[in-house]
Symmetry: C2
Subunit: 757 residues, 2 copies
Amino acid sequence: MNIQQIVKEKGLGLLFRQGTVGIEKESQRVHADGSIVTSEHPKAFGNRSYHPYIQTDFAESQLELITPPNKKIEDTLRWLSALHEVTLRTIDENEYIFPMSMPAGLPPEQEIRVAQLDNAADVAYREHLVASYGKAKQMVSGIHYNFQLDPKLVETLFNAQTDYKSAVDFQNNLYLKMAKNFLRYQWIPLYLLSATPTVEANYFKDGSPLKPNQYVRSLRSSKYGYVNAPDIIVSFDSIEKYVETLEHWVNSGRLIAEKEFYSNVRLRGAKKAREFLHTGIQYLEFRLFDLNPFEAYGINLKDAKFIHHFILLMIWLEETADQDAVELGRARLGEVAFEDPHSETAYRDEGEQIINQLIDMLKAIGAEQSAVEFAEEKLAQFANPGQTLCARLVDAIEQAGGYQQLGGEIAKRNKVQAFERFYALSAFDNMELSTQALMFDAIQKGLNMEILDENDQFLRLQFGDHFEYVKNGNMTSHDSYISPLIMENKVVTKKVLAKAGFNVPQSLEFTSVEQAVASYPLFEGKAVVIKPKSTNFGLGISIFQQGVHDKADFAKAVEIAFREDKEVMVEDYLVGTEYRFFVLGNETLAVLLRVPANVMGDGVHTVAELVAAKNDHPLRGDGSRTPLKKIALGEIEQLQLKEQGLTVDSVPAKDQLVQLRANSNISTGGDSIDMTDEMHPSYKDLAVGITKAMGAAVCGVDLIIPDLKKPAEPNLSSWGVIEANFNPMMMMHIFPYSGKSRRLTLNVLGMLFPELV
Amino acid sequence: MNIQQIVKEKGLGLLFRQGTVGIEKESQRVHADGSIVTSEHPKAFGNRSYHPYIQTDFAESQLELITPPNKKIEDTLRWLSALHEVTLRTIDENEYIFPMSMPAGLPPEQEIRVAQLDNAADVAYREHLVASYGKAKQMVSGIHYNFQLDPKLVETLFNAQTDYKSAVDFQNNLYLKMAKNFLRYQWIPLYLLSATPTVEANYFKDGSPLKPNQYVRSLRSSKYGYVNAPDIIVSFDSIEKYVETLEHWVNSGRLIAEKEFYSNVRLRGAKKAREFLHTGIQYLEFRLFDLNPFEAYGINLKDAKFIHHFILLMIWLEETADQDAVELGRARLGEVAFEDPHSETAYRDEGEQIINQLIDMLKAIGAEQSAVEFAEEKLAQFANPGQTLCARLVDAIEQAGGYQQLGGEIAKRNKVQAFERFYALSAFDNMELSTQALMFDAIQKGLNMEILDENDQFLRLQFGDHFEYVKNGNMTSHDSYISPLIMENKVVTKKVLAKAGFNVPQSLEFTSVEQAVASYPLFEGKAVVIKPKSTNFGLGISIFQQGVHDKADFAKAVEIAFREDKEVMVEDYLVGTEYRFFVLGNETLAVLLRVPANVMGDGVHTVAELVAAKNDHPLRGDGSRTPLKKIALGEIEQLQLKEQGLTVDSVPAKDQLVQLRANSNISTGGDSIDMTDEMHPSYKDLAVGITKAMGAAVCGVDLIIPDLKKPAEPNLSSWGVIEANFNPMMMMHIFPYSGKSRRLTLNVLGMLFPELV
């Protein structure tokens, strides 16, 4: 089957390059010194019987992070980043993730806990492995690279060839070609990407096979790694032979199950190998790869793409390795694995020849120029072994003063980095923070998550057969269509709330002074605010807090307002402080006070310095990528300072509160202060009632309250509702400037999936 | 109590003018000749036990149309118009509404059916009335004008006076003043607005009291109208005396119930008069007014405003009529009622004096200039009795050749007028047609309806304690919030539908010819359409209906598309016709074919003439106020004609179909053709399934189907879904160009109120 020829003739380059990649990455939870922990897998990750992303491998301490398969390899790496951030922020504060494949600081064997899975068979299987291989080898970690060709490519290739009559046969042989050629040439990616040059001596039961100061390219892929007994040989000659030989080893009891066959390539897509005969191999799992300790998540995008291309080369090559060639490849792997990382490899010629073919292939299939350049870099590493990952790692180990020490240092650095923007999910930082928070929680709890539209913040979540859609963090099927329509219409909202008996300030609009003054009797004695319909910086606003009692005063206020606009509003004035109530279902989950941008004087620093210091807060930033915003020192702020007799260079007295804005918006540098526990419950009940009147499941209710400690009374002087918001902001509650954090996204998930405990 | 003085001193003009008005209007259903029908009250109006708007009064034939109370009198008149349109379009096609108060063409007494109400007591009451007054008098109809002062005015006046300590006392006496002064001066509105100069002789059991050719001002308000026995006198001196005397007549058996007391002013707001002592009179019902036969709905806005002002004058006047004055007023009413309509009234001086005071009042309270002018017109009618409504009516009767004849003629004219724009509810024509249709149905079926926001098409409907909100005709609580969010995002919609297993055409976007051509293998053999992302008049579009089989053809098509835009789409092409499925819940209620604007040649007329003739269709209009749109003859249409080798002056052959548009939008003159009964049920089921996948209660699904008679098969060549629409248009189904009308608004009401049978 000459794939190369068909792809070239039919111009299938794009289709050939397309494919689906998923990554599984094992790694150990460790202490700060890099030694492995004996604690349980964190309960916060829910139950491993269903978790799609965060699992344990052999041991309780051995995390297995599993990305979903993605058509774009970039997305797979984003997932890997997200899984790490969720994991690093969830595990115990004194625990870390070890960045290298070979375990260091192993506990005494009896303290290594096999993963505590629900399924007894899964546990029994692990106990069997312990008996066969010992615990230490099981603790070795790596990256498994799952790759599927585009089914449309397989179909097109099948239609273009004549060797195979059956599409299943064709597909099996195509993937077998890929597998066999990979096994033949696997020493090449090992040479280029291996990263297990050494390990602590106590890893070996019978003493280290390495001489003092000896480093190798890959202990993990050597006979000292985690491999089957050398006589366990499974044929890749044909799918039939593969099934036959594999079943032989299982039936003879040498393997406890098919999955105990640890080839560096696994055929995937069926529970039992025999099924491949009818359904075809669906994808391959490449298990060769060591963790790259220089990358926070064990692998980088360039290498992931290089691996993809190398795998493609395996079917692009004209020849197909036979069983002898496969065995030859395996032998070379063993040899190269034990070479000194700084030395030239024995098979440099073959390596350069294959990578040159890779470069030719990349050009032929129209791959991006950067991929060609990266392959050329890899090619150069045959002449310069010191540039290989492994050689560089050896240098770093020596510099750090030891393997475990380097691992511990990197682990700590990675954890700090994962907390740098602890409110975000970095890989999805183009999305809204609230959606990032919800995604974080969904990943942590083990909900299947699919991003339907990144720009539109549209997610699909699934647990078992139950699925839900979420947009913008809290827009869901639990709200009825009419609720947001009511809430986005202020006139209708007021009518509905007033009809339901809630205290709603009323307002009237006027187009002339005469008309407004004629309405004076409607307002006499009431607390009112008189303002131009469009307000700029509060110009033209008059407030009668104690009630308007004089018609001439009223008329004067109306005239002032009309100087600013052609329409003037007279509104009931609510005396008190505005609080935001976040209601979900029958409960007010959070109450927030928003305070206009301000700094507190200390008698020493200038306003500008105080602002700069306050802006250093980790939650503050510019744009939409932080929960709080930096205080600006623009025109509006300077005007505000001027009103207080200050400039940016003034030094406010100690404890002098300096206002920098009149409005309390978080988006203009305001502070958010959680008041949930301080608020009298009667107001929380009112907010729930208002939410119900709106017919909403999730609602942000803004109440004006003069005294949050006093119980609510049924009149406007006790409280008033000024707005009900659908899709209310969540970040300001999750990450308030001060007060307790309220993880509302977890409540949203709980509402959508009550079955998820 | 000097109201005038307080209003002037405190500048309460606006508040004084504010008030709430509701109108009840009785009238008889009649045959084309004006004679009263003996048929039942139409079943389409639902049940009279709850209908808030369309009731029967005494007889089964006697409609009582009841507007809700409105703060703006204009709204009351709009409601009256709407109630008439609903009624006239619902009653039997051979029935009409008699425009005058005195009944004509009475059936033999035994054939007059008392209203068949559910409540036995209501029927028994009517039977009692028959025994006391005979049936004929009960058939007299009129307008009852309900008026309530602004409660804020009552409160403000109370606070400003010192005569009364109790607010309830004050309110009772204020309304009693209004009632007594009205009874004193009621002859004046009678003189100005009466319209019952005569009746057919058979109305009187004992022969007509009118001499041949004698006309009077108001038979209805004379002793020959529907009045209590002359000795039944109820005192209005004080609320206590009123309660006492009224209870006396009931206790003595002279009245069967309080409601049998037929004063021209009734005190309202309590079930029993005694309650007024504690709760206060809430509003007054003025029952004096004859139907104005020259107005389609029995009264016009100017007169309604005049009545409002006249009622206000009754409390503005300094004096308060005592019982003697009330009796004097009643006597004058009787006298004036029997005057010749063309003659000067005996009390001209008093009339002019009162109307002059009315004019003074209007000026003092800042009423609109038009109200003053209208009062001046009325004033002039004392000098020119021939200009009174009644005199003009007499002239019309003579011209028509008789009372019943005139009534019949007007009744027929009014009905034709109510059908002129049968798809609209004229008074609410600023709203969307679909909302008008829903309002029509809600009124017909007897749902309480409140317009929360006219511009926003926001309604509140209520039946018993159950209420629902509706926006834009079919946006309700039955749809979940997430459904429209899914549907408004095409990417998400496609993903959701594809995942649910529906046939969704796929598309890819490209930014270069090379990129697109490289993807050729993805499309080879498939029917595709290649088009610029933004299309103008179909430029740059290539369609491979039979599948694309040649790469060069594909490349050529891509190049053509790139000439029009920087982005090009390649989409699965669906062969077939597009149909719109309107789905509600588990059912496809309507299927519509939309045909691009066209005319059919007849070998005689030019294209322009054919278009003009087609545009004459009653459903076609400009703008948004008709269900179908007129075909334009602009640039696009002329370009379309040119492609067919035609101009607007060409005479197409008989049966030659002339296309005037390429797009099938109804908004550009397309035809809508109902295909509900023609469509194979399998497609209707698919549309329901698609609606469910969207999580929607109401959905407009657009399917492309090559053969609507063949059952659906699971592949794109059998059918494909191209769009799912929330808030789908309803008018095109309710009023299609051809085919059966589907009254979808009734289904929406049925969904919201399943309890409403």
